[in-house]
């Protein structure tokens, strides 16, 4: 279970996240939605420990986030971040060396599914291949919390289905997936709850089938309702 309690992050001249308070429960796939710059990435990085909150707490299984929680939390950043001197095989070895929950066999399975050769150097990958490698390396971990920042970015339409199936394969009643994405429509059937972040504030958590049943609204509809004219649907 992940609890965000009054979490705030201020940078020079800007408040990225303001008093975000909400709880995530295992056994669900959450969509984290909001326009560019609303604070989604900053929040995910705080859960991973890459950014330290200015104030507030993030509790994972009732314990504050720390070095040890990184063993069970997997973060996939939007940007490419692999060492440029590595090959895909090196990247797999690196993750195997440092993450106990990383499965090299699953990594190799995902790599071949995405048609990536392990001999390729990371600096020679196209943006699409880089995006697929990030997904492969993250989902090859058997984590308790997956934070995926724009996992479908840069991935072609056909491969997106594979990526979503890969994410579904990892979902279980014991873990949490949080997917931040602008491609709201593509996530409609895969996520079951949505968290909205507006102007660095938490703007609501909704059960999606509930929304459809009682209000006949899709995630996209809710998004438009919350963000009005300022909201963007497709990146």
């Amino acid at each position: 279970m992940l609890e965000s309690i009054e979490v705030t992050k201020k940078f020079v001249g800007k408040t990225a996240v303001d008093s975000a308070t909400f709880t995530l429960e295992p056994g669900h796939i959450y969509a984290l939605l909001g326009p560019n710059g609303s604070g989604k990435t900053t929040w995910m990085k705080m859960v991973t420990g890459l950014i330290k909150p200015t104030s507030g707490y993030i509790m994972y299984d009732s314990k504050p986030i720390g070095i040890q929680s990184r063993k069970e939390i997997a973060y996939m950043a939007t940007e490419p971040y692999f060492y440029d001197w590595m090959t895909i095989k090196d990247v797999g070895k690196y993750y195997e060396d440092f993450f106990e929950d990383f499965s090299l066999s699953r990594f190799n399975e995902l790599i071949s599914r995405m048609e990536l050769s392990e001999k390729l150097k990371t600096k020679n990958l196209s943006s699409g291949m880089s995006a697929k490698l990030k997904v492969a390396v993250t989902m090859a971990r058997n984590a308790k919390i997956y934070l995926l920042d724009e996992p479908l970015n840069g991935i072609d339409l056909i491969a997106r289905d594979d990526v979503m199936k890969t994410m579904l394969e990892s979902a279980s009643p014991e873990n949490i997936l949080v997917i931040s994405s602008h491609l709201v429509e593509e996530l409609e059937s895969v996520v079951d709850r949505a968290i909205f972040i507006k102007d660095s504030h938490f703007a609501g958590l909704f059960d999606l089938e509930e929304l459809r049943q009682s209000e006949g609204m899709s995630i996209a509809d809710k998004y438009r309702e919350i963000f009005g004219h300022g909201g963007q649907i497709n990146a």
Partner: protein
């Protein structure tokens, strides 16, 4: 499968499976995929697929054998009932649409008769 994202997805999958049962794609007593496999097959959330089976079982379209899995019902009367219900639903939608266009029931029947077979 393409979904109408404004309507509950689990019901759409329930109807798709019921249609398969009715038209014989899924036969009596056939083993249905596990919740996880169903989620993968239809690209839906695992909780949604759990709800699909809950609903199907509540409607009597399938049953669960403890420790073994979920199976299509063997009750042919039940399947016949589904067929009639789903046909009725399709018919209502059709007649309503025709009425909105100002076409009478008799005219509709004539159009159906002379329509080239699909």
């Amino acid at each position: 499968m393409q979904y109408d994202s404004k309507a509950p997805i689990y019901l759409q999958v329930v109807n798709a499976i019921k249609a398969d049962i009715v038209n014989g794609t899924l036969k009596c007593g056939d083993k249905l995929p596990s919740g996880r496999d169903l989620a993968m097959q239809y690209t839906i959330n695992p909780n949604t697929s759990a709800r699909v089976y809950q609903e199907l079982e509540a409607q009597g379209a399938c049953f669960t054998k403890r420790g073994m899995g979920t199976y299509v019902t063997e009750d042919t009367e039940m399947i016949k009932k589904f067929k009639e219900e789903m046909a009725e639903e399709a018919l209502s939608v059709f007649l309503r649409s025709m009425k909105e266009l100002g076409i009478t029931t008799d005219e509709s029947i004539e159009m159906v008769r002379s329509h080239p077979k699909i």
